[in-house]
């Protein structure tokens, strides 16, 4: 096992992780409505730390209330959030696992804004309505940009004060930083729009501000799309950034002092290619309705799912650009990034086969992989690999039922076949995130 690349430590500039398996960003609505932390989140994160991952990348952690994706997600927008995150870090650290907090801002991709945001449009690089759900937005003013940059920097400061091991900027999957980076979304006429160096200005200013706030000795990584594929759903949309553009941005980020890069894809979330796999429409009709008041296209889209004769239309749009590859879907993009930079590169996308992970790391696609759904299915995946097994006995089916449940129900694996058809056992497993409960001791 000492020779197994999977279990060799990965040394970043300011941080060393014990192995090459990182829990990717994923969480449910485990916290209080206002974004103050909840006990379930600590339970959730501990599951994976206990399972043996080298580090955990937190789920989407808003740097401001206006930048949340939905209520009940812990935020880091205020100093009073620091104790909670300290508690999370301490619990994870008990298992020799590092904890990296993902500093995030939804921009216009705000699934449920919550009552705090009910009467205002989301902020974005653009004022153009988002095409899939019809999220309304307004183009940020220079003042709002400066404020948001500062919010990210303050978030990093709070993460450091909480004793966490680093921060990740969520620059992928269609959130605010993507909205600035992507040529398919950013239609600004000022110094934050137009050519790539202008579009990258926002994220580079955040990096600079964070470095000013926390110094050079605190781990900072950026999650970024290899390719935007903005036209994956609607062919008439712009395709957005290409891989060479991403590589260029990554080089600028490295120069700006970023310690690692985390490669994903897709300029929206979810996206036909991220998370790769199926789209469980039968489950979606039970949960997507919660977003009907959030976007101006949600209701029409919901009807496409709700009524079976219309589903082929939905499936056509969702699946026409999807390929066959699931595991390692971003490996080649990561390889291109890794070849262009000297800092470590993480890659996400369907990993759950030990031999395949060894292969992509061995071939120089990346230095470590990040895994979300496969760990939700098997939180002990690292131990399974350590036992010499190449794949879990009941692997993740990539059905994405966890994904569509996350907006309404507790996050967990909802693939009934993995529980031999026993629904109650499946729900019991899902509900295990609430154990132990805070007042039960």
């Amino acid at each position: 096992m000492a020779d197994d690349i999977l279990f060799q430590p990965l040394a970043f500039r300011n941080l060393t992780v014990k192995n090459r398996i990182v829990r990717s960003n994923i969480a449910g609505r485990f916290d209080n409505y206002d974004g103050s932390g909840g006990y379930a989140r600590i339970n959730w994160e501990e599951k994976f730390a206990r399972g043996g991952v080298g580090a955990i990348l937190s789920s989407f952690v808003p740097v401001s209330i206006r930048g949340r994706i939905m209520p009940n997600y812990a935020t880091i927008h205020a100093d009073n959030r620091v104790p909670f995150w300290r508690a999370v870090g301490e619990r994870v650290h008990q298992h020799g696992c590092k904890y990296i907090l993902q500093l995030s801002h939804s921009g216009r991709q705000q699934d449920i804004g919550g009552v705090e945001n009910l009467r205002r449009k989301a902020l974005s690089s653009t004022g153009r309505t988002e095409s899939q759900n019809g999220f309304l937005c307004q183009a940020m003013t220079p003042g709002e940009i400066r404020q948001t940059v500062a919010d990210f920097a303050q978030g990093a400061r709070r993460a450091r004060e909480a004793g966490l091991d680093g921060v990740e900027l969520h620059g992928a999957n269609g959130y605010l930083i993507t909205q600035f980076l992507s040529s398919g979304i950013n239609d600004r006429q000022d110094e934050y729009g137009g050519p790539l160096e202008n579009r990258a200005r926002f994220v580079l200013e955040i990096v600079e501000a964070i470095r000013k706030e926390v110094g050079r000795d605190f781990h900072l990584q950026v999650k970024i799309n290899g390719e935007d594929r903005g036209n994956a759903v609607y062919p008439w949309e712009k395709k957005g950034n290409t891989l060479p553009e991403t590589v260029q941005v990554c080089q600028w980020l490295e120069q700006a002092g970023v310690d690692a890069l985390h490669v994903s894809c897709g300029s929206s979330f979810p996206h036909p290619l991220n998370p790769p796999g199926g789209f469980p429409v039968d489950w979606a009709v039970k949960t997507y309705d919660i977003m009907i008041s959030s976007g101006v296209f949600v209701f029409q889209r919901y009807l496409l799912m709700r009524y079976r004769p219309l589903r082929p239309l939905f499936r056509y749009f969702w699946e026409h650009s999807k390929g066959e590859v699931i595991e390692g879907i971003n490996a080649e993009a990561a390889r291109a990034v890794k070849q262009a930079v000297k800092i470590p590169v993480l890659c996400t996308g369907g990993f759950q086969t030990a031999s395949f992970i060894r292969k992509v790391i061995g071939e120089g696609c990346c230095d470590a992989v990040s895994i979300a759904r496969s760990l939700v299915a098997n939180p002990d995946l690292v131990q399974i690999f350590a036992s010499g097994r190449d794949r879990p006995e009941k692997p993740c089916t990539y059905c994405n039922k966890c994904l569509v449940n996350a907006i309404k129900n507790p996050l967990g694996c909802y693939e009934l076949s993995r529980f031999d058809g026993d629904y109650d056992r499946m729900i019991q497993e899902v509900m295990s995130v609430f154990e132990p409960s805070p007042f039960a001791q």
Partner: protein
């Protein structure tokens, strides 16, 4: 209470809803415009030339009594056995077709949701003339329709729609051989078949009493009796009157203003006479196209003149005849004379009284209810006690003579009744220039049978009007020669 502020999403949705509603409204408007264009509710084919307008223009008979164009078009093809003789088509009923024309003279086309055809003034007031059987047929506007058998036309329509084969499927199949209807039109035509059957059968039922009276034959019509049921729903159980008369010429109307019009002189208003005739053609007080009618009325009053006699006239003989005319005829028949346009009592004129008797006091009173509510409501109809003295302009073309068309030629009219033809044939258009009238002894030509007119039949009597009957033959010849020039 302050209204609840709405969220940006709700505001946007309201905006989208309004936009969607606007788009739907605009789309509906566009569709309506399209449908309006395709099924324009009421728009006639318009002719600038007044003669074309007279022949083919609409006066408003189509909305209530028209027949959808394509149904009308295919009926002769679907039911050729119901036509009286060789066609083609409606020509066998005496309708006149001009080369290159789709519809016969007297048949107008108007869009009333569907294109419909209906009768106009020209159907009863356009006739033909041939010098010899092989001569080309000359169409003359304003003369009596000497070919048209209007009663046979109505009977043909009724027979067609009563036939079990008159179904929407069969009609559409027949239409398909001519044109390709779009789905909307097909649907409309399905309804139109039903509607046509109802309209035609209702009219047939209303005028069914006519079946117990002598046939009209070509060039004749019972002007007023059908009004009794069509307009007033009179019970006809005790009314056996016969009102069949010859169709009149309608040219040169200006000097007729104020005269006692109609054969019995029952009305002195040109306007009422015209509107009354239009009602007979199928207009209603609502559907009548007054502007279209006015064009025709103006033209008839101020422009249309009878054509000059086209054949040779012996001027010397005619000069002799003129003196006789002045002596025996002019006082009653010349414009400006004392009695022209006035009624001669039946006891004196002595012609067949049936037409006079058919126009009763009760009926005259009821005529005063027509166009009620309009400024042109009828006020001039009166019961008279005789027949009116007609001006004789273009009299050479107005054969057969007397109000019921019972005397085939002018020369025959100068004979005492016992010497006038007792049986003759109507509908033939070859001119007898010797006797001044149409040749009346030809029962059939090229398979087309002409109407056998029997003066012994009630209403067909050829008695009376004994003026000039006592002249010598040479004088009668001279008088006839002169009258060709009127």
């Amino acid at each position: 209470m302050q209204p609840e502020e709405i969220t940006p999403v709700e505001a946007d949705q309201r905006h989208r809803t309004w936009r969607a509603v606007s788009i739907v409204v605009i789309a509906l408007f566009a569709v309506s415009c399209y449908l309006y264009r395709v099924f324009n509710p009421n728009y006639p084919v318009v002719y600038n030339d007044i003669r074309e307008h007279f022949k083919y223009g609409s006066i408003g008979t189509e909305p209530m009594n028209g027949v959808p164009y394509w149904i009308w078009k295919v009926l002769p093809e679907m039911f050729p056995e119901k036509l009286p003789g060789p066609g083609p088509g409606y020509a066998s009923l005496g309708f006149l077709y001009e080369p290159g024309r789709d519809l016969p003279i007297g048949m107008a086309r108007r869009r009333v949701y569907l294109d419909r055809v209906g009768l106009n003034c020209a159907v009863c007031h356009t006739g033909t003339l041939r010098e010899t059987p092989s001569s080309p047929r000359r169409i003359i506007l304003g003369m009596p329709a000497n070919n048209l058998d209007l009663q046979a036309y109505f009977r043909f329509l009724a027979a067609c729609v009563s036939d079990g084969r008159f179904t929407a499927d069969n009609v559409l199949l027949a239409i398909q051989t001519h044109t390709r209807l779009d789905p909307l039109e097909r649907l409309a035509y399905r309804a139109a078949v039903w509607e046509t059957r109802e309209v035609v059968l209702q009219r047939k039922q209303l005028i069914s009493f006519m079946d117990s009276r002598p046939d009209w034959g070509p060039g004749r019509v019972d002007t007023f009796n059908p009004y009794k049921t069509v307009q007033f729903r009179f019970p006809m159980d005790h009314d056996a009157t016969i009102g069949t008369t010859d169709l009149p010429s309608i040219w040169n109307q200006k000097p007729r203003e104020g005269m006692q019009l109609h054969w019995d002189g029952n009305n002195t208003s040109l306007e009422e006479r015209n509107k009354s005739a239009a009602l007979g053609g199928g207009v209603t007080p609502v559907s009548v196209d007054l502007a279209a009618m006015k064009r025709i009325e103006d033209w008839l009053r101020d422009e249309l003149q009878p054509p000059p006699y086209p054949y040779a006239v012996d001027d010397n003989l005619a000069r002799q005849g003129e003196a006789l005319y002045q002596a025996h005829c002019a006082s009653c028949h010349a414009f400006g004379s004392a009695y022209v346009g006035k009624v001669t009592p039946i006891a004196e004129i002595g012609t067949d009284p049936h037409r006079l008797d058919s126009f009763t006091y009760e009926f005259a009173a009821n005529m005063g209810t027509l166009f009620a509510g309009y400024p042109y409501r009828f006020t001039h109809f009166r019961k008279t006690q005789g027949y009116a003295n007609m001006p004789l302009d273009g009299v050479w073309l107005r054969a057969p003579y007397l109000h019921n068309g019972s005397v085939p030629t002018l020369r025959d009219l100068l004979e005492p009744p016992e010497n006038r033809p007792k049986v003759f044939y109507r509908g033939y258009d070859v001119y007898d220039s010797h006797k001044a009238g149409f040749v009346s002894d030809v029962p059939e030509e090229n398979g087309r049978k002409y109407f056998r007119y029997d003066t012994a039949v009630p209403g067909n009597g050829n008695g009376g009007h004994l003026y000039g009957t006592k002249l010598k033959d040479a004088e009668k010849a001279a008088l006839v020669e002169y009258m060709k020039k009127l």
